[in-house]
């Protein structure tokens, strides 16, 4: 049971700070086969406490992401569970073929921990944005993909991965002082989405940082006496087919993600419904095949329509233009 006070303090640390500074630290204490490896981002990721207290369990290969994946995999082949940590963009893209070869093809027991995914790096610019990472990780067989909504969920993702055997990508979005989705403890299980607002004829499925936005949108519509369900899809692969089946008669489903609409959460949802005889209408809200104009993360999200007011307007427009929905 995680106390409310802890949840508040973890929100200040953010997803990365909580995952690396709290969850990995605890897991290292608990499991003797856990190692953490990074490409020169230990301090940035929040691993300082691990580096100081468990230097034997921390490896730094320098700024060399391709080799990072290889070294992590070699260690994993020796019966270890290895967390490989770097910026989501460099980790998944510079080392992509290495990930495919070692984690996908050979199922190396490596957990990729991509920090600052989406547009969290703000003014650093598009080199540092990870907006295609879900798409490319989804395409690799055997990969598990987790995308926590807030710091508490990031904690649970890491704790779950500490005893999970197999390759995984954990996508950590946002920075420090992240917005909490959960203000109290809840049940987390890999592959099981969380319903945060009662399911209805219109439903939002969101992931990562955008779950917070989805709740805000739903609450605004509630005031307008329009009920919109909210699902937190923290596991993107394998996607929770059970909940998708439950809402297959929705009039409208919105996916929201801080990621390209090509290949991400929205695509994963569409891929599921493509197999059914009758599919619901799906509107994908995300980054529409562009490199966004650079600014701080709030600015970029506004540019991309990834904020509450813009999402509310978009949903209102669709509802008012589609009589079948009303």
């Amino acid at each position: 049971m995680v106390e409310k006070k802890k949840i508040r303090s973890w929100s200040r640390l953010g997803q990365s700070g909580t995952a690396c500074g709290v969850a990995i630290y605890e897991s290292i204490e608990e499991y003797s086969n856990i190692y953490v490896i990074t490409a020169d981002l230990g301090v940035t990721a929040g691993l300082k406490r691990v580096m100081d207290n468990y230097p034997d369990r921390f490896i730094n290969v320098g700024i060399a992401e391709q080799s990072l994946i290889g070294v992590a995999s070699g260690m994993a082949f020796e019966d270890n569970n290895v967390f490989a940590v770097s910026f989501a963009t460099f980790l998944t893209m510079r080392g992509y073929e290495q990930i495919r070869h070692n984690l996908g093809y050979q199922k190396a027991n490596v957990k990729l921990l991509g920090i600052s995914a989406g547009v969290a790096m703000g003014m650093f610019g598009n080199t540092h944005y990870a907006i295609e990472d879900i798409a490319i990780m989804r395409a690799i067989p055997n990969m598990l993909i987790l995308s926590p909504a807030d710091a508490l969920e990031a904690y649970y993702c890491i704790k779950a991965m500490s005893s999970y055997i197999g390759p995984a990508y954990i996508r950590l979005s946002d920075g420090v002082n992240s917005l909490p989705v959960y203000d109290e403890d809840y049940d987390f299980a890999i592959g099981k989405a969380v319903t945060l607002r009662s399911l209805s004829k219109i439903n939002i499925i969101a992931t990562g940082r955008m779950v917070h936005e989805a709740i805000a949108v739903s609450d605004i519509f509630k005031e307008k006496e329009i009920s919109i369900g909210v699902i937190n899809m923290h596991t993107i692969k394998p996607i929770d087919e059970e909940i998708l089946k439950t809402i297959c008669n929705s009039q409208l489903i919105f996916s929201i993600e801080e990621h390209s609409v090509i290949g991400g959460l929205g695509s994963a949802i569409s891929d599921y419904y493509d197999c059914l005889d009758k599919r619901p209408r799906i509107e994908k809200i995300g980054i529409h095949d562009v490199f966004p104009t650079v600014g701080n993360k709030e600015y970029v999200r506004k540019e991309c329509g990834l904020y509450t007011d813009a999402i509310v307007k978009r949903i209102e427009n669709i509802i008012s233009n589609d009589r079948a929905i009303n």
């Binding site: 290969v61 080799s67 020796e78 070869h101 050979q106």
Partner: protein, 273 residues
């Protein structure tokens, strides 16, 4: 000291080469990577038949590990494991055919003692570094041997791994470069200046030994002599070694054997025995 005599190792090397010829011939018109398989035969025989401890027993934690980073030489690995009695005859006969477990590049296989998959160049040394690091952490005295091609050393990841091996002083990983001087597009020194291999490895702080990669005496000595510094053995070899028409011939990186060439190759190898 190793159990087998040099003459015995030479006989095994010939059998390995004949296996490689058989597999190449069985691959039909599609052909196979004959050249680079032939160049590393003595290296693999020296390791598997002399130097390494229980390499076939993947379930034993104290076994020495071998990584074929130049994965296109898979036939040499299959043949050595066949001569060692690990890979059965029927698998060799079925190699490189549709659905076979033994494809052009090795796939991780515990039953057959294949530690890791290969085929994408430049990756094996990082995996070896990770294994070596993990072994040191567990106080396991096993060694890791990684075989690279000289052309493969074009890959930047090789040097990323070299950094890590040097930084963590991983003297339990032995790097061997099969320097046959040829790659896909021609001579290694023409594609990228491969003549600086020795200096490059030395600049990374490695103990570099350059030997004749077809001499069992030199291979055994180089593989046996160890000190506290990570080691690289640059093994000068001949691509296509043992078959007159394939030796030092660029087109034999990957090629098919006609009936006539097949019989000629086997004849030459048997006569050399």
């Amino acid at each position: 000291m190793i159990e087998r005599s040099i003459d015995e190792l030479k006989k095994i090397a010939t059998s390995v080469r004949i296996d490689i010829v058989e597999m190449t011939y069985n691959a039909g018109k599609r052909g196979a990577h004959l050249g680079g398989s032939m160049s590393c035969v003595e290296i693999l025989v020296a390791l598997y038949m002399g130097i390494m401890k229980c390499p076939e027993a993947v379930q034993r934690s104290d076994r020495d590990r071998f990584i074929l980073s130049k994965g296109h030489a898979a036939m040499a690995l299959y043949a050595v494991l066949h001569q060692k009695g690990i890979i059965p005859e029927y698998e060799i006969k079925n190699a490189l055919k549709d659905g076979s477990l033994l494809c052009e590049h090795p796939k991780m296989n515990d039953s057959y003692g294949i530690e890791v998959s290969g085929g994408s160049l430049g990756q094996g040394l990082s995996i070896g570094a990770g294994m070596a690091l993990a072994l040191k952490k567990k106080n396991n005295n096993a060694n890791v041997y990684v075989l690279l091609g000289d052309g493969e050393c074009n890959e930047g990841q090789v040097w990323e791994a070299a950094h890590t091996i040097q930084h963590y002083r991983l003297n339990n990983v032995v790097t061997i470069v099969d320097k046959n001087g040829l790659q896909f597009d021609g001579r290694t020194k023409d594609v990228q200046d491969g003549n600086r291999l020795k200096e490059n490895w030395e600049s990374y702080g490695f103990d570099v030994v350059e030997i004749d990669g077809h001499s069992f005496e030199q291979l055994i000595r180089a593989l046996s002599d160890r000190n506290s510094i990570p080691k690289v053995i640059i093994a000068n070899t001949v691509k296509g070694k043992g078959i007159s028409f394939a030796e030092n011939a660029t087109e034999w990186h990957s090629n098919f054997l006609t009936d006539e060439q097949y019989f000629k190759a086997k004849d030459e190898l048997k006569k050399s025995d």
